[in-house]
């Protein structure tokens, strides 16, 4: 859904539209003039599009860190320089029940993987996962017996971010890509392929 602004944004435009709205409420505008006014003031879309627009602009990341990338994630989420609240994704939630974005920030050991999967299952749908950094995406420099090489082996990942650690801009870009994905392609069929539908743990 795209919002375009009419008018050139001159200081008088706002005042003019306010007066016009007052005229409409008083009943001074009628017939075709009223029709034109209503068409210029309404946005028409489908419910799904409006819903995914709202969802994409209010992502609640889970307050969850794994390793050194977590420090980078915290500064990206809350730091003043690359403030993720510009994209509506800064409200970290301490409970997986209230969060809908899981950022895997760091290496995933074989001991931690079942824990992460359980946290993912405890999150309520719709939910999304960002795999941040080389370790979460492919075990990175710790390619040995202790780590799971790639988070997508045990849960569906929406966006992979390269880097060791990724720049804050890269994580911002990942969130923007995720927003595009939520708005444009809310589901590309891979959740079914992963068997990731209906895995919530509710009890």
């Amino acid at each position: 859904m795209e919002i375009t602004r009419s008018g050139n944004g001159a200081p008088g435009d706002f005042r003019a539209s306010q007066l016009r709205a007052r005229q409409m409420l008083r009943g001074d505008i009628e017939d075709t003039e009223l029709e034109e006014y209503v068409q210029s003031r309404l946005l028409v879309t489908t419910f799904e599009k409006a819903q995914s627009w709202a969802r994409s602009n209010a992502l609640f990341p889970l307050g969850f860190g794994l390793a050194c990338c977590a420090i980078e994630m915290i500064t990206t989420l809350a730091g003043p320089r690359s403030d993720l609240s510009r994209f509506g994704a800064e409200v970290t939630r301490a409970s997986p029940r209230q969060a809908d974005l899981l950022i895997l920030s760091g290496r995933i050991s074989v001991k931690m993987a079942p824990v992460i999967r359980r946290i993912y299952d405890q999150m309520l749908e719709p939910k999304w996962v960002i795999s941040m950094g080389a370790c979460a995406s492919s075990a990175g420099m710790f390619n040995n017996y202790a780590l799971v090489a790639g988070a997508d082996k045990f849960l569906p990942v929406d966006v992979f971010v390269p880097g060791c650690p990724p720049r804050p801009e890269a994580l911002n870009y990942a969130v923007i890509k995720l927003q595009d994905k939520i708005q444009g392609h809310p589901d590309m069929g891979w959740r079914q392929r992963y068997g990731a539908e209906g895995t919530e743990e509710v009890a």
Binding site: K111, A139, N143, N144, A146, L147, A149
Partner: protein
Amino acid sequence: MPDATGLELIAREVRERVADDAVVGATLAHGQAMLEVRPETIVNVLSYLKHDAAEPFDFLASLHGCDYLPEEPRLGVHYQLLNRVRVERLGVKVRTTVEEPEIPSVVDLYLGANFQKRKVFDFFGVIFTGHPDLRRTHMPEDYEGHPQRRDFPIGGEPVLFTFNEHEGPYRDA
């Protein structure tokens, strides 16, 4: 640090007070004194060094496992002791085989050895007999094998670099 003479004195004291054949060797390398003892005497040796020695080493600074492949016996456990009055450090080492990796536990002497022994068990498979709670610390409880042994495969997944790209799927391109 005990110097070479001091280390010989400690070794002689241990031989006299614990057992004649308790000490296998005493080496001074890189300024660090290391006393190698037989595994079955380790409790008595550490008990003597902690309680009865003239200059007691009353603090276990750290405890490590080690794999000496291809030497035999392969596994080793190092006890790094500290004399807090003189600020002197002494290493005590025991060696054991992979086939019977059993060493008496000294948790009763040094309580801090508890978790470090669990870690050595986890990574090297040394079994400390008499340990109150010998479980894995780092690896999952159902993990098979002891991954820091040198004959344990490093694991992970093969990655293509320039030195091995001819082995990879793009060699014909």
